[in-house]
């Protein structure tokens, strides 16, 4: 267009054929758009900071009565009555995209830190073996050693640490502090959570014939942008992947708009007989919190 001879153009137009008024208008629209974009970016940043400041990564225990109060006037309000028949306490999780991962890690770590029964020790050894072998599984499924090393070493060190902690595990406060130091820390917790994301991805990729039909994206893309990516919320398939890989179980209690609560178990035949680890999560729309008896 810039090659068009200017003499053929009747008005003072630029090379796109715009009048000065139109150029001015375009400029204004552009500036408004930029200002808008800037405002949106700032708003998102503010929101993130607000969540950060007001909400611990994992809260102290709330009774279910206290938790229920937050849902007053909401259609899910009555659901908590039926949940209360089985559970008494909740720990709230920060809504940062890591709620499932942090909640389940907290429960796994707490269980093996505190519970030294014969059953628990057998289960602990089984998981420890899995984790020791996970590095190879990750490398077999496309993770470079340079990437895996730090995450693997850090996780293994923390998991091993659960067997001989330097705290009194009968002291609830000491246990809480121990877990907070590991799972509510910007740095260490990020490593532990990312490692869990990686082993889920590796498991899904290793079993892609089985899991591909349940996801729309191709498996590698899915794992990259929905599982590995920091702050992406866990979808059900991620939870299934983790439970299957580590041979663990979880019970998810989901509030219902009719005031009831729906319980799902992964795996479906998981038996909650207190002889083995079973995670317990409360699912409210878009978010997991940690449930306790």
């Amino acid at each position: 267009m810039s090659e068009a001879p200017t003499s053929t153009q009747p008005d003072k137009k630029d090379d796109l054929g715009l009048t000065p008024e139109e150029i001015e208008e375009n400029k204004k629209a552009q500036q408004e758009l930029e200002a808008h974009n800037e405002a949106v970016t700032k708003q998102m940043e503010d929101l993130k900071n607000a969540v950060r400041k007001d909400m611990p990564f994992v809260s102290k225990y709330l009774t279910l009565d206290e938790y229920k109060l937050k849902w007053e006037g909401n259609k899910f309000y009555d659901s908590f009555d039926s949940i209360m028949t089985k559970f008494s306490k909740v720990r709230e999780l920060r809504r940062d995209g890591n709620c499932f991962y942090r909640a389940i890690l907290w429960q796994i770590f707490e269980y093996f830190l505190v519970n030294k029964s014969e059953h628990a020790l057998v289960e602990y050894d089984k998981i420890l073996k899995k984790i020791e072998g996970a590095k190879q599984d990750l490398m077999d499924n496309g993770y470079d050693e340079v990437v895996v090393d730090m995450f693997h070493d850090q996780f293994l060190e923390e998991f091993k640490g659960l067997s001989e902690p330097k705290i009194d595990v009968t002291d609830d406060e000491a246990v809480e502090k121990y877990l907070e130091e590991r799972l509510c820390d910007e740095s260490l917790a990020s490593y532990l959570i990312t490692y869990i994301r990686f082993i889920i991805s590796a498991y899904l990729k290793a079993n892609r014939e089985m899991y591909q039909p349940f996801i729309e994206l191709d498996m590698d893309t899915y794992c990259q942008i929905r599982v590995d990516a920091v702050e992406q919320e866990a979808e059900e398939i991620c939870i299934i992947g983790l439970m299957n890989y580590l041979d663990l179980a979880v019970e998810i209690i989901q509030v219902q708009p009719d005031g009831l609560a729906y319980t799902s178990k992964i795996p479906e035949d998981a038996v909650d007989d207190e002889s083995r680890f079973i995670g317990r999560l409360l699912f409210t729309p878009g978010h997991y919190d940690s449930l306790h008896i």
């Binding site: 974009n37 470079d144 590995d228 990516a229 920091v230």
Partner: protein, 151 residues
Amino acid sequence: MSKIKGHKRLVKEIKDLQENYEEFKIHFPDPDTLYLFNAVFDGAEGSLYEGETLELQFKFDDTFPFEAPEVIFVGDIPTHPHVYSNGYICLSILYDHWTPALRVSSIILSILSMLSSCEEKVGPENDGSFSRYAKGKSPKSFNWVFEDDKC
């Protein structure tokens, strides 16, 4: 200078680049820090960028590896629909689709592949206004919209 949290990982990555990727020449503009380096490489043979020398600048901070490093073209900026004339690159793995599993070498390879799949050497449509607007801002401070699967 204090160490960033991902220091150990970065040292491994630099070593890996120097040992296993001869085609990417790494140099450090500031001898006092590892956290800023440039990678110089040739445009892929058979692509529109064959014969061009390309240079990326990498900048790392405490968010690495949980966020991508800041990556821009410096020197002679290649003309490409997703590369702005200020060197900023519209590529999803540098922003929303970054994961801690990605490496410096994966970034360079992705950018090379982005260039290689280019069919026409034209700059981004909104290059002029964006480059003016972006002055003094980090490429990571924008909400990038990724328009197609190459981006």
